[in-house]
């Protein structure tokens, strides 16, 4: 596992949120777990753009940060389910607010984002 070399910034709320939510797929993972997609394989199917590896890594970080709990069922083939902690659930309205803003302004957002990729329409 990668060892961080620098100390995190903890000066304000935004810093703190960044430390637990800064990861390309973390909000999506929390969102889908909240929607009932609990197993790693389900989450991987819901987020096909993410590699299996990074999903595992980010789930582990979410667990370390106590936003989700990992439950292992001792069956074969192995079965694992994630669920939100009480703490993790408090984040759902925040993620909803972010996602709703993105949905509401999706046309503007797509336009300004694609400006940076001139080779495409």
């Amino acid at each position: 596992m990668y060892e961080k070399k620098t100390f995190p910034n903890l000066n304000c709320g935004l810093d703190l949120v960044g430390e637990v939510l800064y990861g390309k797929w973390k909000m999506r993972l929390l969102w889908f777990i909240n929607e009932g997609y609990l197993r790693p394989s389900e989450l991987q199917r819901k987020i096909p753009d993410a590699s299996r590896r990074v999903i595992n890594i980010q789930l582990k970080e979410l667990e370390e940060h106590e936003l989700v709990i990992r439950t292992i069922y001792p069956v074969m083939p192995p079965k694992v389910e994630y669920s939100l902690t009480a703490f993790g659930k408090t984040l759902i309205p925040v993620i909803a607010a972010i996602g709703n803003w993105g949905d509401e302004y999706q046309d503007s957002l797509k336009r300004v984002i694609l400006k940076g990729y001139p080779q495409l329409s």
Copy 2:
């Protein structure tokens, strides 16, 4: 400037938000501009943990994404001021929600974040 090599994900609102807000200091920059810290040197003093260089880069990206406007005053020494666009202003309540969550749970957050840095208390 760095040329992106992969295409962005634009599948849902969270993807879109990520494309414009995924940058360590971007939310902070928008927040402080909204609070009236408009000049680059002011913003640098407000965010001493960020290097001057990355503040410039992220301000330029925010401008490209039409969240802020850059105004150059033709005076010496040079004077530049940023301001939020109407579009950028719509993001302020979202950033407030994120920051408020971080403030509200700051004790829990600090605890779980510091778990990852065992060499420190």
